[in-house]
């Protein structure tokens, strides 16, 4: 067993790809075969990844695997290697958690669709590629995995071709994604030109001799390329469309692991391969990118009236948090960023599943046509509230814990450097969090509370197999907040340590002493700082008291709330009566677009420009991506010099 465990990383990837082929052959007609293949492949793969936890996280080993046992000869990596350190395994755990839950959820959620054999194939290909991406130690293998990922993701976006906008979303995703992949590939080619190797550990060792202009260019290209995969502004435009148009089980996979793949690539690139984060100007560049992403994402979300599109923009915004925190270059910042990445996987997955449940039950995700579903779908409402509290950063849920890390990391940089920029970043992060809360109050009100439209009176709660993944994610959200010291010690500390010790990564792959010979030195081993002084249990008690107070108010209130609206008629519509009639106001439903109307009115100019920029034209989106990449490359050249 102990011997065999070295094969687990590669087998975990292979079993998924094998399943993809089997699903196409046997799952074409038989529903049972399809389900058996899907569930057995994802569970076997997940079990193999979980079996690596003791070695990597508890014993601190770095596992390596050379395909076909082609080990390095004369200091040169001649084969394709897999390398699993704590950072890679951390992301791999996110990946397997996401796809297992999504697979269970999709059993019932997708049952009304046709061609489910193809769905299973594409889904398993997507899972296998992202898992391979975070485990591989070879940069060209990484590119191939990125391409398979994009390819499967585009096809899954277009899977419900008849739904609104699925095809055009897929086309835009394909165009922008290909531009990003092209930039990554050119960067890899230039790196190979400079270093004559494709192994990331060896690249890191060779690049310690200093960056030539070609390697600087490669850094710029690849940063932009992974920025596209992580959907940072200005590369985020296809994400909003794709998350909206894809089936919810796939949207969960997108926001849970596909954009995490971009985040992982970016971290691996700037910290391990180029080890360029000791330059404060590069940190600031990436922080600016992250801050702009989180602000633009959340403001665009405020303007949405489709449930899933709103979640998509929040997803973009939360990735902004992750990138900002990770780019701070401190241990606290990196662990906060990784923690937030993990929490984002949990709560955004949960929210997308809730959106899927609403779609499954009510047949629409348009906020203006929903309302009052809490009476029909109590469990989904409870899960949604947990997800909404988590993403909005309310204690004691996990979103609060990781955002607290991030605020603290940004603020401690502001204090230690005295640079006003970090203060702005901290304040922006807090403001974005408040706006996230506002946006989710809107969704909660528009979908689950208020009046139930007459046409939704037949809605029923979703099946059990759809509720189980939501329940698991909800528990994860709560556990991440309540037991964050445990999470921080067992998962985040080793992963953050792996980010800051590239020499361990190099030595594990290329043989001990390689890093020292190449002159690679690790950053001073800083102990993981104690994250704040807040006590989750106290916050939980406070929350319970506040909730009890709310319930008291509700229970003593008028009993006429929650009546079914008679029609959606124009003249008798209760919501206008309050403003124009002068008669006794009936309890009326405030729909999603009407809430925060005043706030949006004040920012009218900004929203008009921002919504105008999201024009839906693929040419515009491509030009943002190209201009963004060119600017990023120029900035990186200015930082490192043309020499």
């Amino acid at each position: 067993m102990k011997e065999f465990i070295v094969h687990f990383p590669v087998l975990a990837v292979m079993v998924l790809f094998l399943g993809a082929f089997l699903a196409e052959i046997f799952g074409f007609r038989s529903r049972i075969a399809r389900r058996v293949i899907l569930l057995s492949c994802v569970s076997v793969s997940a079990a193999m990844i979980f079996a690596l936890i003791p070695a990597v996280f508890l014993r601190g080993e770095v596992l390596t695997y050379w395909m076909g046992a082609w080990e390095p000869a004369a200091g040169y990596a001649i084969g394709i290697g897999y390398e699993i350190d704590a950072l890679g395994l951390f992301f791999a755990l996110l990946v397997v958690t996401t796809f297992c839950l999504s697979a269970v959820y999709s059993l019932r959620y997708m049952e009304r669709d046709r061609h489910l054999g193809h769905y299973t194939t594409l889904f398993l290909m997507l899972c296998g590629s992202v898992l391979g991406l975070v485990l591989t130690g070879d940069i060209f293998n990484l590119f191939v995995m990125v391409e398979i990922m994009t390819f499967a993701a585009v096809a899954l976006t277009a899977f419900r071709g008849s739904s609104h906008g699925a095809l055009e979303a897929a086309f835009k995703y394909l165009v922008i994604g290909s531009i990003g992949s092209g930039m990554t590939l050119s960067g890899i080619a230039l790196l190979y030109l400079q270093c004559h190797t494709l192994n990331m550990a060896q690249l890191s060792a060779v690049l310690s001799g200093g960056l030539t202009p070609a390697s600087v260019f490669a850094l710029g290209l690849m940063t932009a390329g992974f920025g596209v995969k992580a959907f940072l502004v200005p590369f985020h435009t296809p994400a909003a469309d794709a998350y909206t148009a894809a089936p919810s089980s796939v949207s969960m996979v997108f926001s849970g692991m596909v954009n995490k793949a971009g985040v992982y690539g970016l971290i691996r690139l700037v910290y391990t391969v180029f080890r360029a984060m000791d330059r404060e100007s590069l940190q600031i560049t990436l922080i600016v990118l992250g801050t702009v992403t989180m602000f633009a994402g959340v403001t665009m979300a405020l303007a949405q009236h489709d449930f899933k599109r709103l979640l998509a923009f929040h997803s973009i915004s939360q990735i902004g948090y992750v990138i900002t925190a990770v780019s701070l270059g401190t241990v606290l910042g990196v662990s906060g960023g990784l923690f937030h990445a993990m929490n984002h996987t949990l709560f955004k997955g949960l929210l997308f599943l809730c959106a899927g449940a609403v779609y499954y039950a009510a047949g629409t995700t348009d906020l203006d046509r929903l309302g009052g579903l809490s009476k029909k779908m109590p469990h989904t409402t409870a899960f949604f509230l947990i997800g909404a509290f988590s993403i909005a950063g309310l204690p004691p849920f996990n979103g609060f814990a990781s955002k607290w890390f991030i605020y603290q990391a940004a603020w401690s940089r502001a204090v230690s450097t005295g640079n006003f920029f970090y203060t702005v970043v901290t304040v922006t992060a807090v403001i974005v969090s408040v706006m996230t809360l506002a946006s989710f109050i809107k969704v909660t009100q528009a979908v689950f509370f208020g009046q139930l439209p007459a046409q939704l009176s037949q809605v029923r709660e979703v099946p059990l197999t759809m509720r189980i993944p939501m329940a698991v994610l909800s528990l994860g959200c709560l556990a991440g907040g309540l037991f964050y010291p445990f999470v921080s010690e067992t998962l985040l500390a080793p992963a953050a340590k792996a980010v800051f010790t590239p020499s361990v990564y190099i030595d594990a792959m290329m043989g001990a002493g390689t890093a020292q010979a190449a002159g690679v030195t690790d950053a001073a081993a800083a102990a993981l700082a104690v994250p704040g002084t807040w006590d989750p249990v106290l916050w939980l008690i406070l929350l319970v008291i506040v909730l009890l107070a709310f319930f008291l108010v509700i229970l003593t209130g008028e009993k006429t709330r929650g009546a079914v609206l008679d029609d959606g008629g124009q003249e008798d519509d209760g919501r206008y009566a309050t403003f124009f009639g002068g008669e006794r106001a009936l309890p009326s439903h405030v729909s999603g677009s009407d809430l925060f109307w005043g706030f949006r009115k004040n920012w009218d100019g900004y929203f008009r420009i921002a919504q105008g920029l999201h024009s839906g034209r693929v040419n515009d989106y491509a030009s943002y991506a190209v201009i963004g990449a060119v600017v990023l490359i120029i900035v990186i050249f200015l930082i490192f010099g043309f020499r």
Binding site: G165, E168, S178, G182, L185, T244
Partner: protein, 119 residues
């Protein structure tokens, strides 16, 4: 000699991206992506090329008889290019399939009209 290759690669990449940004016809956008891809492929295959080098193919008897492999072109970029070509062909095929389906549903292939998702 190699400068020409690199320049051509750069020109192709820029032309392809320009095509993607400026053309409204969806099939022309796909063609633009293809041109970018060709530019990148040219770049990679040029990286491995050595002027006057031989093919990197040696039989065991060559090696035993002292035909020493001293000066040959780098085979790895060729393998990379091959992979990249295959991926590029798949991407193009999928993009064209999507264009056909968009045409069926929207009755147009003009990028200005295929924009139901916006804002």
């Amino acid at each position: 000699m190699m400068t020409v290759n690199y320049l051509t690669a750069a020109v192709l990449i820029v032309l392809g991206l320009y095509c993607v940004i400026s053309q409204k016809h969806l099939i022309k956008i796909v063609l633009g992506l293809g041109i970018t891809d060709y530019g990148i492929n040219l770049l990679i295959v040029s990286i491995g090329f050595n002027l006057g080098g031989t093919a990197p193919i040696y039989t065991l008897s060559d090696l035993m008889n002292g035909v020493s492999p001293v000066y040959f072109v780098d085979p790895i970029p060729q393998a990379l290019t091959l992979t990249s070509i295959v991926i590029g062909a798949c991407v193009d095929a999928m993009a064209l399939a999507l264009v056909i389906m968009i045409h069926r549903k929207y009755k147009t292939v003009d990028a200005d009209e295929v924009r139901r998702l916006q804002g």
